[in-house]
Symmetry: C2
Subunit: 300 residues, 2 copies
């Protein structure tokens, strides 16, 4: 089924104990789309400035990612993020953010994308997330991400958004900030009261947590020994999760669990190299093999 | 099969966001024994001072814990620990430690205990751990715990101990300190080079990790919403793990995995109340039910 993602596209400067990368292609929509495209065709909506290298347009070459919603805006500059994992591989330290074109109007959604059934609203201003959502005809599953900035500065709009979506994906610190609950299950239950049918809490190297009205499902991260650059792990997780869900005509707890496991597995590839490096030669078969291996290693 | 534990017995003052408990019975050997006794008879070796309340002797009433190795030493004072989880429920802040009787000679091992097959050397000076081990006739499985203090101050003796045991249980910070590796799997692999056949890394609310020559097994914590006092969670985990192993005439990877899962489940009870409060009315049937529930919640 059609999977739409709107989110950031950026040029990253990333420092980890294993080196530094300049002008690396990044942003939530990039990681999400690349990973989700192993499962299903993806419709990407996003905007960059005219400074963005041509190679950006080539990144999805050979992959089923429809980039007709990718706007290259004249006179604008691409979003840039400078982060470091030198102190802590599990938490990015943001050294600099230049919103640039992300502070302007969002990219338009191509008319051909308006019938999208599966929608991922990657982290951006909750008013924009609501606007995007308002334009879609009859989405079947809408999942959003958010961040500390909106929780603090735009709580009212974020709360409105939560009343309109099926699932929320956020990290542990954000879940605690949003609900002022320290226990993540309690925090997730509080989020459910605001509207979503399920909440996925991403805990980085500690895995993830799925909470619904009836269920709590906890999943460790894939035990990765090779961690070079964690950038994009959360967006890859979401991409794997939504990509898998878009292939299933079912939103049962068991299906969502499997989706989380696929998200976990693909994220384990993303972090094995800088930027999209480890994804470029990845195949769906490798993902499925590691999924089976993970499933086996988890069973007792 | 016979399971022997040597470790600390103490009186704790514990502060958590849910209250304060004074003179609560605690210590590694207490939690370990209580929990392990749901699986198999336990032989406890430890020492307290004459200030220890009589109620201590009653704590194992009705449980298959042989306390003939429990020495009440005249003229000595019981070990005391004062810790707080007010800042962080996942990491105890030690406010005060009075070693008292633990700084003296260890308790003697009763002759009837010397044929013990399963042995847990809870955290203490690695020279004492080696002495205890040296007295045992032919233990089948020896697992030890340790702590930052010995890693820093007694590395040579700890390394000697590691050459003599089958398994090591330690927490994430200790694994990193011992090996100077940040990645926990790499850290565990380095520990394996020192002798043990398996290493279990306890990650508190983030679960545990089992690493052997051939296998990496990762397990989340039981998704506990009620966390009142985390004291003893790690020792309970070890107690459940060793208690289960002592009932199995097998040390296959699959058996050890199940043992970790039982350890995870019993620890989830321990943390639901102060001291041994949540364990007092616990039954093996409840443990088995939660084990099945956990297993189900983990499968995808």
């Amino acid at each position: 089924m059609s999977l739409l993602v709107t989110g950031s596209i950026g040029l990253d400067r990333v420092e980890t104990p294993f080196g530094v990368r300049e002008d690396a292609i990044g942003g939530s929509a990039i990681y999400f789309s690349y990973v989700a495209s192993f499962f299903t065709p993806v419709r990407l909506v996003g905007v960059v400035g005219e400074d963005c290298p041509k190679t950006l347009l080539d990144v999805f070459h050979g992959r089923p990612v429809d980039i007709s919603g990718l706007e290259i805006r004249k006179g604008s500059k691409t979003f840039r993020w400078h982060g470091s994992y030198v102190q802590d591989m599990n938490a990015a330290q943001t050294l600099k953010t230049d919103l640039n074109v992300l502070a302007e109007r969002p990219a338009a959604i191509p008319p051909a994308f308006l019938d999208s059934q599966y929608v991922f609203l990657a982290n951006t201003h909750p008013v924009l997330q609501q606007q995007t959502l308002g334009m879609l005809k009859s989405p079947k599953l809408v999942v959003a991400d958010t961040m500390n900035l909106w929780i603090q500065a735009e709580r009212a709009e974020l709360t409105k958004l939560l009343g309109k979506i099926h699932g929320l994906v956020l990290n542990d610190a954000e879940a605690r900030m949003l609900t002022e609950k320290k226990n993540l299950i309690s925090a997730a239950r509080d989020v459910l009261k605001l509207g979503p049918k399920f909440v996925v809490v991403k805990k980085g190297e500690h895995g993830s947590l799925l909470v619904t009205d009836r269920d709590v499902f906890t999943l460790p991260a894939y035990p990765a020994e090779k961690v070079i650059d964690p950038t994009g792990a959360g967006d890859s997780f979401a991409g794997g999760m939504m990509g898998y869900l878009a292939t299933q005509n079912c939103l049962s707890p068991a299906t969502i669990k499997r989706a989380l496991a696929f998200g976990t597995v693909v994220a384990s590839y993303t972090i094995a190299d800088f930027s999209l490096g480890a994804l470029k030669n990845l195949t769906r078969e490798q993902i499925d093999d590691r999924y089976q291996e993970f499933k086996g290693a988890m069973s007792f």
